[in-house]
């Protein structure tokens, strides 16, 4: 498999949208709590938030709750996904990878629906105005442009 194919595979789920999945669930602070229409979605979201957060007690609670429902294999797989995508985000942002024109066009509608263009990196990559000030997170530095 070529590198190009590997890259495109990472976006594969986006190419197969399913109306039963609630995309805004992934941005809970804007849209309110939800499970995304995904089984045990609330537990998974709580776990992801706890891993990236700083509340150790919350992490223990989220981890125990997830393990109780999904079992140890489910918890391990969930932790792996959270860890991997946290790394991927950092690599993408730190290296300033441009959003390819075809993906910019293909994602226009759901970027608008999820208000993703408010992310500071969008103001750099796409030239959009930043409409919401967000604090630096996870040691990353963002720049705002108006």
């Amino acid at each position: 498999m070529s590198l190009l194919n590997d890259q495109s595979c990472l976006a594969a789920p986006c190419e197969r949208p399913d109306p039963q999945w609630d995309l805004p669930a992934r941005d809970r602070h804007r849209y309110g709590g939800g499970d995304g229409g995904v089984p045990d979605g609330r537990l998974l979201v709580a776990f992801a938030e706890a891993v990236l957060g700083e509340d150790d007690d919350a992490l223990v609670r989220a981890r125990d709750a997830l393990a109780a429902v999904l079992g140890l294999p489910g918890l391990i797989d969930a932790a792996g996904v959270v860890g991997l995508f946290n790394a991927i985000d950092r690599v993408a942002d730190a290296t300033g990878i441009p959003l390819e024109p075809e993906k910019e066009a293909a994602s226009l509608d759901f970027r608008a629906a999820l208000d993703l263009d408010r992310f500071a990196v969008a103001t750099i990559e796409l030239g959009y105005e930043l409409t919401l000030t967000v604090p630096p997170i996870c040691g990353m530095v963002f720049f705002s442009t108006v």
Partner: protein, 58 residues
């Protein structure tokens, strides 16, 4: 990815992680069955929430 590809071993290591912590490339598009203890939608919800928390555009 272009930055990492300057060091080929890093690209290989990256996709080793993808295989073990996400899905092997060969089954990423196989929605006919699940390949991990959590389902495709559960995996993508986790990935999307992490990316949103990191304010990742990509």
């Amino acid at each position: 990815m272009k930055a990492m590809s300057l060091v080929p071993d890093e690209v290989r290591s990256f996709f080793d992680l993808v295989t073990h912590q996400y899905l092997p490339g060969a089954v990423m598009r196989d929605f006919s069955r699940e390949h991990r203890a959590i389902s495709h939608p559960q995996i993508e919800l986790l990935a999307a929430r992490v990316s949103a928390l990191n304010r990742c555009l990509y």
